[in-house]
Amino acid sequence: MAEEKSENQKDNQGRPKVTPVWEWIIAAVGLILVVVAIGTTVYRAMTEESTPPKLEVVIDSISPNGDGYLVRFTVKNTGNQTAAAVAVEGKLKDESETGTATLTYVPSNSERRGGIFFTKNPQQFDLQIRVTGYEEP
């Protein structure tokens, strides 16, 4: 490749004899990246204590879907442990209909989305949606 040609001093393998400056520049960039990556994790490990997942559900939309209705929701985990098999239950206030959904993972400080189907229009009833359980991964 062309970059070799710019070096004047070379050994018999065609390599420069002294480590060129740009190799050190690349090394510095690499060092910064690795230090930031490991440093971030060390900082987090030292400052954050391990709290169980804190899960909250927010309804994103309710829309007609096929013969019934689709309720789309977002589960947000504000704790710093990941929750697996997160069970979400949606219930119409008059107890006439219940729907459930399971999210495989909701990582810590992250969101995952899902949906529950109803046959009646949930907007005409009082819809309650909550997380009923999870599993530790």
Binding site: V18, T19, V34, A37, T40, T41, V42, P107, R112, P137
Partner: protein, 299 residues
């Protein structure tokens, strides 16, 4: 190298400087030997992913633009790989580009055949789904086709010939080979759910320990290359700090960037907090680092 240029009149991609040394082997026979070797490489290296469920699912639903970008980025990687270590001796950039597309064609074809045999692609599926599944598999299969030369070498003469070409790797060349090794080895586990699952099972302290162990492992490989008398590894400055900073640390930085990119491509770290993304990146960085540092020994 003069004899290689003279062979340009041969079928474009399978000409070989060896034909002169062994005139009794006909060009057609050479062509089929290289073709068979490349197919062998494609199947050998892509079969674990051909039999991975997540690859079929990703092929069907992953973001089309990310898949397109991924396929596009394979081209420069394959061209570079062909330059250093292709399935045949090349005489110029154009030749490397031709070989790249031959490797891609072989990867694509072998993926179609194998996915069809496994019943992963069926005529009733949409064209989008079929093409997605095939193109995702083709990436790794085309790497395999290109790798065929160095790992499935037929005889000593070609081995010697390929050693000669390998010597020309510069510092950038070595970093490039590390990147190729990282992509290649991490790809075989990157699409699996285990990448996320492992990162969820680990605490931050596990993550830090893994990063340190990965760095040490990488340095052990780098050390092995530097002092094995491997020709291409010769570098002027062999002090610990110099080798550690210029190869191990830079190599690990490349590994982390590549792991992050691959996880993003597969959508494995979408909607995650930065710290979680980083954790999964360090997890995938483990196989990627082994691939990166071992590539300097193997390629």
């Amino acid at each position: 190298m003069g004899e290689i240029i003279n062979e340009r009149e041969l079928p474009p991609s399978f000409m070989n400087s060896k034909a002169k040394a062994e005139p009794e082997r006909s060009e057609t026979k050479q062509f089929f030997i290289h073709l068979a070797r490349a197919f062998g490489g494609a199947i050998l290296f892509s079969f674990p992913l051909l039999m991975t469920m997540e690859m079929w699912q990703l092929g069907a639903y992953m973001n089309g633009l990310r898949l397109a970008l991924f396929t596009l980025l394979t081209v420069p990687l394959l061209v570079g790989l062909s330059y250093y270590d292709g399935f045949e001796a090349t005489s110029g950039v154009l030749d490397d580009i031709v070989d790249t597309f031959v490797a891609y064609a072989i990867g694509f074809t072998s993926s179609i055949v194998m996915l069809f045999l496994f019943g992963v692609i069926k005529p009733e599926m949409s064209a989008d789904e079929i093409i997605g599944k095939i193109s995702l598999q083709s990436v790794i299969a085309s790497f395999g086709a290109m790798f065929a030369q160095s790992l499935l070498l037929g005889d000593d003469q070609e081995k010697e010939e390929s050693e000669n070409r390998q010597r020309s790797a510069s510092y950038f060349g070595e970093l490039f080979l590390m990147a190729v090794g990282a992509v290649f080895l991490s790809m075989s586990v990157a699409p699996t759910e285990e990448m996320n699952l492992i990162s969820y099972q680990m605490t931050d302290w596990h993550t830090i320990a893994l990063a340190v162990v990965t760095l040490l492992l990488m340095h052990a490989f780098v050390y092995a290359v530097e002092f094995s008398g491997h020709e291409k590894a010769i570098s002027p400055d062999k002090s610990f700090l110099s080798v550690f900073l210029r190869f191990t640390v830079v190599g690990y930085a490349i590994v982390l960037l590549i792991s992050f990119y691959i996880l993003w491509t597969f959508g494995s770290i979408d909607d995650m907090a930065f710290a979680e993304k980083l954790k999964t990146t360090i997890v995938l960085g483990f196989p990627a680092a082994i691939g990166a540092s071992a590539s300097r020994l193997i390629l």
